[in-house]
């Protein structure tokens, strides 16, 4: 086995070649056109794009399509690659949804660590007034990189669980389009490299929102950021398409839509948004990119353009994106909660439909980010009302959780703790939301640390806590071993109080006048104590995440061997061996009951011996 037999190595080599080729191409065209040979912006953009395409070819994710175009047969290979150790399948193109799920998960954690490391650095800078060690432009690049690093980490984390779990939960053998699935994953790798490179070619000092006119004249790194987000977006769209098709078409016999696991509803709702709205952020970024490259004046008032148009296009995605992030997480809460309460999920249908309702309502609220932008003022009140409307389906979920807990026989292993932690944190995020959606209060809260506190609470309650709950909950499924319960509890008890302090602290310094995206602040604001507390809390959160990683990596190799169904779950994935064999359900799967009838005697959800019973 040579190192070049690993897809990722071939991909990286091809990316370097492709980037050089793209840059050379621009130089050649410019020389032929009689312009001076080197212009950094077009060369960088074309280089980054061609490099990404070359990576995809090099890694081998398009081989089958090339074969198809030549008219050759392209049967799907199942199982580890022949003649090579089975770990190599994780470093190349593999069509198994379980392998792709883990590929997504590991990439997501790497980006999570990157984003976390950046946050730790600039939080230390903010711990006291006065400038310590960060240059303002570097600081601004870092907050933007932190934001997008985390956004991509969340998107990949969702894809990780959706890919690994959805086929298992709905009784399918794989996703609807396995090749496309692998392609969508691998696109993230070259895109992530382009994204990280942007830091080293001038960075981009706009913050994650990249508003023109600033983004139209930010350093070169801005362009690489646009290219990277464009490819991340394509991956997200393609992944969503695959998940919708899988959920709609590949459910096991007997699994009507309202007998689906609730997590599948969350993923379905999320995918509807990701499939459609993502196009708009890609479009808005391409438009700024073209404004920089060709002088197309979309957002340039001097040419009759309008920067507010950018904000409309950008937020048409970036508000619903929040629901892309939280709907699967809220699905995880609803999925796990009944298991540890030993009670049916309260109001299953309402919870399922509330996910769809949030997704659809999410398309109508984007301009609540623009109350202070100077957009037409008659738009403010309609967008205020539509925004507050989202609280209704969100409230449905909350009441369902409380009612599910009510009178349950609760146990508190680590996954359940993180679910409860998610509820507490999401409550903070939820209650601090309406003041931003109401015009009168938002005019004061806009662009302050109050907003930072609000959305971190939403992200942590809606995604991070449920994501960690899911990691602990399905860890035995992935590895066949148990995580260390004591370290898990330590992680929880460090992270949760620290997060409360961080979030409430951010809101407090915001109310006292701390603005977003500035490297320094006036000590006369009287917020130094609050800033220090936020920094310490943030570092504790970072430490607790490292404890989790140590726990999971160690337990994956040395942990106690898990029993088949450690949580006594009714869900089908726990009725088969762990880790899941190559074929998910060799004897078929048939749904014969309701998914969450915990505590009801003689109720069954699935029958796994369909073939044995002679169908």
């Amino acid at each position: 086995m040579t190192v070049l037999s690993l897809g990722i190595v071939r991909g990286l080599a091809a990316q370097i070649v492709g980037t050089a080729l793209g840059m050379g191409l621009v130089v050649l065209v410019r020389v032929l056109m009689g312009l001076h040979a080197w212009e950094a912006e077009p060369a960088t953009v074309v280089g980054a794009m061609l490099g990404t395409i070359f990576f995809m070819i090099g890694v081998g994710s398009m081989n089958d399509w090339f074969r198809w175009a030549r008219g050759e047969a392209t049967p799907i290979h199942h199982g580890p690659p022949e003649g090579r150790p089975s770990w190599t399948r994780y470093f190349g193109v593999d069509y198994s949804h379980k392998v792709i799920g883990i590929q997504y998960g590991v990439t997501a954690i790497l980006l999570l660590l990157t984003g976390g490391a950046l946050a730790s650095i600039f939080r230390v800078e903010l711990a006291e007034a006065g400038r310590q060690f960060l240059d303002p432009a570097v600081f601004n690049t870092m907050i933007g990189m932190h934001g997008w690093g985390m956004i991509i980490s969340i998107l990949l984390g969702i894809a990780a669980f959706a890919n690994y779990l959805i086929p298992l939960l709905i009784g399918a053998s794989d996703m609807a389009f396995p090749r496309l699935n692998s392609w969508a994953f691998w696109l993230n790798v070259p895109a992530a490299l382009v994204f990280l490179t942007s830091m080293f070619v001038g960075g981009w000092d706009t913050g994650w929102t990249a508003y023109p006119p600033l983004s139209a004249r930010a350093p070169l790194g801005m362009q690489l950021y646009f290219v990277a987000v464009f490819f991340f977006g394509i991956s997200s769209i393609v992944g969503a398409l695959n998940l919708i098709a899988t959920i709609l078409l590949l459910r096991a016999p007997g699994m009507s839509l309202f007998r689906m696991p609730i997590f599948a509803w969350g993923v379905l709702a999320t995918s509807i948004i990701a499939l459609t709205a993502t196009q708009l952020i890609a479009l808005s970024f391409i438009m700024v990119m073209m404004q920089r490259l060709l002088g197309m004046g979309f957002f340039d008032p001097a040419q009759g353009g309008n920067p507010i148009l950018f904000q409309h296009l950008f937020w048409f995605y970036s508000h619903p994106a929040v629901y892309i992030f939280v709907l699967p997480g809220l699905g995880v809460i609803s999925e796990i909660l009944p298991v540890f309460c030993r009670k049916p999920l309260f109001g299953y249908k309402w919870v399922a439909l509330s996910s769809i309702a949030i997704a659809l309502a999410g398309f109508l609220v984007w301009a609540h980010h623009m109350f202070t932008s100077g957009m037409a003022s008659f738009l403010r009140v309609p967008f205020m009302f539509s925004t507050l409307l989202v609280a209704v389906p969100t409230g449905v979920k909350f009441f369902s959780w409380v009612a599910t807990i009510w009178g349950g026989k609760l146990t508190f292993p680590t996954p359940m703790l993180f679910v409860l932690g998610a509820l507490s944190v999401f409550l903070i995020g939820g209650l601090s939301g309406p003041p931003n959606g109401i015009v009168t209060t938002d005019l004061f809260l806009h662009d302050t640390y109050w907003i930072v506190g609000h959305f971190h609470a939403t992200m942590f309650g809606g995604f991070v806590f449920p994501f960690f709950a899911a990691m602990y909950y399905w860890f035995p499924k992935l590895t066949g071993r148990m995580y260390n319960e004591r370290l898990g509890q330590l992680h929880f008890w460090l992270m949760t109080p620290a997060f409360w302090i961080q979030s409430l602290g951010q809101m407090r310094v915001g109310l006292l006048g701390m603005r977003r995206r500035i490297v320094d602040y006036d000590p006369a604001l009287g917020i130094e104590g609050g800033q220090l507390a936020v920094t310490i809390a943030g570092l504790v959160i970072g430490l607790s995440v490292l404890i989790m990683l140590v726990n999971l990596v160690y337990s994956a190799r040395r942990g106690r061997v898990a029993e088949r169904n450690p949580w006594n779950s009714r869900s089908p994935e726990w009725q088969i061996p762990s880790p899941v064999p190559e074929v998910n359900y060799p004897d078929g799967l048939q749904v014969i009951g309701e998914p969450y009838d915990y505590g009801l005697p003689d109720s069954r959800y699935v029958n796994l011996q369909v073939a044995a019973a002679g169908e």
Partner: protein, 188 residues
């Protein structure tokens, strides 16, 4: 071909069809975004474009959809000769459309850097032309496979997908053409 593999082909066909329409749903948002940008930035005005040219390229593209449809129904009836010929005619008309847009419209007085009129015109026609171009490439790939005996009356998903994609790109132009050439008062 065994009956089982036909059954799995049909199951995959169902998924493929859904996948393709989901892709169109996604793309519609991008083209819709461009249309929104056009109405936001141009309002009730439009640049003074060559009306005859607009009419000609639009007719060419609409005509091409007819031949694309003919190609698809030909392979569904195992008429390989008509299938291949119609594909080539479709591709040729597609290329002619591109010549009209890129070779003539883009060579007019309006350039991408000429204010919002240039920006939106080139943004909309550029992204659409990119789709037409990719459609031509796909048609030629399908033609090449068909030439070697690929596809049959029972199994021609590739042709079907190519045809629907081509019609979709065509329909997008049905919205773009009036938005660029007809609606609003011309300003020069």
């Amino acid at each position: 071909m065994s009956s089982e593999s036909l059954a799995s082909y049909k199951a995959q066909l169902k998924a493929n069809r859904l996948g393709l329409w989901l892709f169109f749903a996604s793309e519609s948002f991008m083209f819709g975004g461009l249309l929104a940008a056009r109405f936001y930035l141009w309002g009730n005005t439009r640049p003074d474009l060559d009306q005859l040219l607009g009419l000609i390229v639009t007719s060419i593209l609409l005509l091409s959809s007819f031949f694309m449809n003919r190609a698809e129904s030909a392979i569904a009836h195992d008429d390989r000769k008509t299938f291949l010929n119609s594909l080539l005619i479709t591709a040729a008309l597609g290329l002619l459309f591109l010549v009209g847009v890129v070779g003539f419209e883009w060579q007019g007085h309006l350039k991408p850097w000429d204010g919002v009129y240039g920006a939106v015109l080139f943004g909309m026609t550029g992204l659409h032309a990119l789709h037409v171009f990719s459609g031509v490439i796909i048609i030629l790939l399908i033609w090449n496979r068909g030439r070697k005996g690929g596809f049959s009356a029972e199994r021609h998903w590739g042709v079907e997908a190519c045809a629907i994609y081509w019609h979709f790109v065509d329909v997008v132009w049905v919205f773009f053409y009036p938005a660029l050439y007809l609606l609003g008062l011309p300003v020069s």
